[in-house]
Structures are given as C-alpha cells and as structure tokens.
Symmetry: C2
Subunit: 341 residues, 2 copies
C-alpha cells in the first residue's frame, strides 16, 4: 500500500506516523506531506529518513490511502483532489463529519457504515470518540434517553502552539508577564491564561450559546451511535498537557443495575475499567498517555433516580481521540478488504 499522511508534522500527524510503524497495513510507500514550512525537512519512519513533501495537487498521485490530519482549510482544498486521484481518504477535520454520505467511524462501534462507495471516511472529534465508546457499551444494557457531559480537555487538543504557550506559562511562572495569544481560540480577539484557569470555551461559539466543540460532541455521537437521544455538553479547557477527561451523566429508559454496567464495560474491546475507589483507582490523564484504549471509572448510580448513572471517562485525545482511531479505520478497511487493498 502507498499511504500519504497530510499534516505529518502536526501533533496528530506525528502520532499517526509513530503508530504506522507498527501497523498491520502492508506499507510499500509512506509519503509524508506538510505545509511549505516543513517541506524539505526529514522525518524518521522505522529509523529511515523520509523527506517531507510539500502540499500540492501532484503529491497525491498514486496513493491508495491518504490520512488528512490537519485543519478544515487544508481538508477543504485538498481532499477532493486526493479522491479524484483515486485515493481513499480518512479525514480528521470536522468538514465532512456530519455529511450524510460520509461515514463517521469509531471502528469498535460502527465499522459497518463503511461501504465500497464511500471513498471518504471521517474521523470523529476527540472528545466525541471517548464518549461514544462508553455510550455504545452502555447502550447494550438498555436504551439511553439522555446524556450530560462536562469535559476537562487538555491543551494538546489545541495544537502545538497551544502546548508551547502552556509550557511557557509554566516555565516563566512568577518570572514574567506573559501575554496569552493562542488559547482559547487563536484567531479570536481575547486570549486567556490556561495555567490556573478552566476556560469554558473550546472553538468558536455557534448557535444557541453552544460552542462548536460542544455541538460536535452532541451531533457526532448521535451519528456514530446511529441513535437519537437528548444530549448536552459543556466543553472546558483545563491546564492539562494531554489527555481529555469527561464527567458524564447517563439517563436510561429503565432502571440500571451496576453489576450489568461493570460486566458490559469489562467485556468491551478497548475499554479499560479503572474503578476501585477504596484503593484510589480511577482514570487520570497521566495513565492514558499513548494508550489507544478508553478508560472509565467513578461509576456510580444516582442517589435519587435508579435510571441515572454517573461516570468519569479519560482517553489520550491525540491517540484514541485522533491518530489511533484513524489508523484503526484504515486497518479495518484492509482486514475487510473493502477497497481491494
């Protein structure tokens, strides 16, 4: 297989290159593609130097599969070109996720939505993936009526510049008057310190007082699960380098039994239950680093309603929340021989 990775020098692209070193995909060529800033430089893949190629129409010639691990603008400009040149595209941007004929895939949940005709597959939003993984498992107990999510999202979700800004705030703590310029949203007017603040804004605000990030969680999780249920999200950036956490309340249509919940979650692929509060075992960001599983704990019933369950969900937003999920999609397509590779 000849595989292209657009955005190879970004945070998610970098994680994907790293994961591709161990993939089951039979890689004949890997073409790493980035903006003009990085082109010409080298990147290591299995200890071999690979020259980074500049984004252009031509760079998509003769590829079976292209991962777009970049922003909406690059996706809008180049995905069609990659498709026209015959590649299958797995896109990590939000451009195509809610389009009707584009499968939005978490391989553990809805791989069956990928058909031969779909040459473009969308990779969901990071905070959506970890939520959907758990909701999909819980939905086997009985039907989900309502979900309320409050997120604790890491700085890495906002990219390299945001990480630099955060690390600078740590390094120069008490020593300098830094002016924040990146977080919460780089191309908006106001910027706030992420160190020592929980910022209730991720991405721009959209309709009805919700941020785009919140709407992604709301609409994408319903599309992935193929279900309609009431759902709210409050998306918050916290001073955590990497690893998203979520406080989730799930209301079922019927009373829920805790032993069922543990059984279902314990038997779900790529879900790890860390829930032994007597020994202070629960998921935190540091344990999910570079892991492609979703971690869940603090599982408990509501004190007032037997249909309501509360849980705490943590995952590496760059791995299962982005790069690993995208790669799993490709591997699933390969195993199922959907596209003839």
């Amino acid at each position: 297989m000849k595989i292209g990775v657009v955005g190879a020098t970004g945070l998610v692209g970098g994680k994907l290159i790293y994961l591709l070193e161990k993939t089951l995909l039979p890689i004949e060529e890997i073409r790493v593609i980035a903006s003009s800033q990085s082109s010409g430089k080298d990147l290591l893949f299995k200890n071999h130097k690979i020259k980074i190629q500049k984004l252009s129409d031509k760079v998509f010639d003769n590829l079976n599969l292209v991962f777009f691990m970049t922003n909406n603008d690059v996706t809008k400009k180049y995905v069609d070109i990659a498709l026209e040149k015959g590649a299958v595209v797995i896109d990590n941007s939000s451009v195509y996720r809610m389009k009707e004929n584009v499968p939005l895939v978490v391989p553990e949940i809805n791989p069956f939505t990928i058909k031969k005709e779909n040459r473009l597959i969308a990779n969901p939003n990071c905070s959506t993936i970890q939520l959907a993984m758990i909701l999909n498992a819980l939905g086997k107990i009985n039907s989900i009526k309502r979900v309320d999510v409050s997120t604790y999202q890491a700085v890495s979700g906002a990219g390299k510049e945001a990480i630099d800004e955060y690390l600078f705030q740590i390094e120069l703590y008490n020593k300098s008057t830094l002016i924040p310029k990146i977080l919460p949203v780089k191309d908006l007017k106001k910027h706030y310190f992420i160190l020592n603040n929980s910022i209730p804004q991720i991405d721009k605000f959209s309709v009805n007082g919700y941020s785009k990030e919140e709407l992604k969680v709301i609409y994408e999780s319903q599309k992935i699960l193929g279900l309609e249920f009431s759902i709210s999200c409050t998306a918050v950036r916290v001073p955590v380098l990497n690893g998203h956490s979520e406080s989730v309340t799930v209301t079922f249509s019927e009373n829920v039994d805790l032993s069922n919940v543990y059984e279902i979650l314990n038997n779900s692929v790529n879900i790890v239950v860390l829930d032994d509060i007597e020994n202070q075992i629960y998921p935190i960001a540091e344990i999910c680093q570079d892991r492609s599983e979703v971690f869940v704990g603090r599982i408990r019933k509501d004190l007032y309603c037997d249909k309501v369950l509360h849980l705490w969900i943590v995952a590496d937003n760059l791995i299962k929340g982005a790069a690993a999920n995208a790669l799993q999609i490709a591997e699933k397509c390969y195993q199922e021989k959907i596209y003839g590779w």
Copy 2:
C-alpha cells in the same frame, strides 16, 4: 466586640483576617489563634502586630464571637469549649453542618434560619456556596427538579501544603522527579500529580461510590435552600491555583425562559452575570480572585428539553466559598442584633 479567629495562619483564616480589616463589626479586640507551630509569631492586622495565641481552653475566655477556620479535629475539640465560655461560634468545618439544630447559612439565602438560641452557625462547603447562590436565584423562576454538577476545583481548596506541592510541580517541571505526597488526599495512600491531571477525587470516598465532597454539595445545598430536589455531583480537582468552577445542569419543573433567567440573576445580590459569548466574556478563575461575588455565564437552554438549563459558575473558594461567607454571617447577626452585639 471581642472576636477570636482559630486557624488564623491557614489559608482561609488568613483571608478572614484580611477581610476583618474592613468589616462593619465594631472590633474592640481581635484574638488570633493557631496551632502551637505558629503561636508566639506575629500577624499583621490594620498594620498592627498581633501576637498569635496558642490553642487552649483559656484562649476562648471573654470573646463574643469565634470563627473556627480550621479542620474537623480542632472543631470537635474546641467548639464546645468556646460555646461554654459564652461565645457565638461560626464554624467552617463540616462537623456540624448537617446537624438539625445548627443553621447552615449563606447570608443571601437563609439568614432567617439563625435564631438567638443557635449559638453555633455552620459555614457551608466552598463548592456548595457558589452553587446554592445560583440555585436560590433560579428557584424564583420555577421549582428546581434536578441539578447535575461537575466541579473544577482549585488546589487552594486542599490547603497550603497542596499549594506548595502544586507550585513545586510547576517550578521543577522537567527538571526533577517529584513525588506527590499531598494531593488528592494527604492521609490516604496514593498521591497523584495535580499538574497535568484532572483528579476525580476530593476528600475520601464515602457510601455508594461518592466522595465526601460530592455528598457535601448534594446534602448541604438542599439544607441551605430548604428544598428537596434530585442532585448529583462529580467533584474534580484541576491544576488551578485558586477559584472553583462548576458546570451545572438544572432541570426545572416547567419550561424555562432565558430572559427570565438573566433578569433574576442580574437582579440578585452578589451574583455577577458574565455572559457575552460573542465577545468571549464568561467567568474564569482569574477574574474571581479576592471577590466575594459569585460569577455566572455560559447560560443556555438545553437543545432537547425546554425545562433544562446549563450554566458555568465560578467563585473564589477561599473568599465567598469560605472567609467572606463566614464574615457575612457575623455581619448579618450584628445588623439584626440577634445576639445583643
């Protein structure tokens, strides 16, 4: 008035001393009391040095009012002594909060629960106060059926040692292998880095999988509001120095109108609405420092149910969440001449 402050060298005690400099209480004597470690040292009050006195039975002689701004152990040992010696006690520990004959007071909400017979008044938990302030206002719109809270609680809530641990983690970031020893709960076995983690444990775990902190929010807010409603809480420590944030979902018994919500909140004493998302105005921890108001924003209706409202509540946990609320209780008692001072 002769006023004692127990725990004067602690974080909350220190804030109270600072606030007492500007109180309307007619202070004749201020007696600052601390554990043996600090006794004998000086403390500044209105630019005068005051000698810190050691905790003992005798130290409570001839006081009208004693603030206990310390832990449960000190409260258990000394509150009765202060009461026996004739002082009124305002206690910030959790020991007496849920006792039937002890008023649990947020002065903006239920000052009328303080009677002459109650010589002991409990100051509520920090995360409870800011929540109760907003729920009390919202309850005027129509009755509250259910509340779901996810907290983003600052390190300062765990005391000076926790702050030191956090600041060390910042200072030595990348330079040393620090071993966390204080957070999340000092006298439990496991400790985790707070920097770069959102830790879903505040205080020890209690029944049914809930932490004591979560149960405080659940039960104290119902006592303060004098109402029974379904409520859940997930209490999480985040790498924020000072200032608690809360993501709150409120379900009313009837459909709720946003303009009513803004009107009620805007007209509530000591509540500041910061909610102009187009201009990225919403509460964050840094704006609430040393403020005794509660800040609220990100106010929006649920996308699926007209009875459900979501909001983001921020307050200084040491000020309105502790010291200022305690002082406001005392000032209210003075203004209402409840105890003859």
